[in-house]
């Protein structure tokens, strides 16, 4: 499987580390909403198809990446820096 890092270009999957489900929304650290924390820690969509994921190019530029990967075909339809996506969220739009 090849992942096209926005900085380094296409690289073997062995250079990357999976950092988890990209759909989770972390509750406010001060939150005492147990349902929200439970959902953050345990609830996963587990789709058969496109899936939002966070990866790190740990064996390359070390950037954190937001990716959409198809769990049936391994096709990767988008890769972007998490830093850029986070900046978009701040300015209003959802990633």
């Amino acid at each position: 499987m090849l992942i096209t890092c926005p900085y380094c270009g296409p690289r073997d999957v062995i250079e990357f580390t999976y950092q988890g489900d990209g759909n989770r929304e972390r509750p406010n650290p001060a939150s005492q909403d147990l349902e929200a924390w439970n959902a953050y820690v345990y609830d996963r969509l587990n789709p058969a198809g496109d899936h939002n994921e966070i990866w790190q190019h740990s064996g390359g530029c070390r950037a954190h990446l937001r990716m959409v990967r198809n769990t049936l075909t391994h096709e990767i339809s988008s890769v972007a820096f998490v830093r850029g996506a986070a900046a978009n969220t701040k300015s209003g739009g959802k990633p």
Partner: protein
Amino acid sequence: MAEHQIPQRQSPLEPDYRVGSHGDFEHGVDVILTETRPGSILQLAAWPGEEKMLMSAIRAITGLALPDGAGGGATDGARAAFGFAPGRFTVVDETEGLAASFARVVTPAIGTVTDLSHGRTAIRIAGPKAEWVLAKLFAIDFALSAFPLGAGRSTTHHDVFTQIQRTGADQFDMYVFRSFARSFWKTLCHASEEVGYEVQ
């Protein structure tokens, strides 16, 4: 007057650094391996939005103008610089003291300077089979069209993180963690045996 004692940096490759020709050299030496032992190896990082300021600082201190774009780099033989990650650059000088020069111009508003001179080992491979040998170790494209002169790449060989800069049409400089350097060196020597190699 007493003679000054200049501390000599020891090479981590020493026990396995055997000057001379090795492997299948009877049919010709197709790569030359050397430890270049630069005096300064720095990592510079720009805060988001300050990349251009940092690149100007690199130009002011080293005289090297880096091209825009991922992995862009340049070398003049004595100094070398290349991007290895977004907003991050490796800068190398034959002589010591580069960190002090950068500390004066890379202000806290621009970014950071980290002196890795004692933490990295610099290994050069040169010769007509340099691309061939490296392609056995790293899963990246070493062709000149894909990996232009001066450009840098961050990659790994069996989890040994390596920064590679093309410093000639058939020459590459590699920077590896000092603690992994001897193991990496031995791997590189084994990979070079079939083409015949010389350690200088």
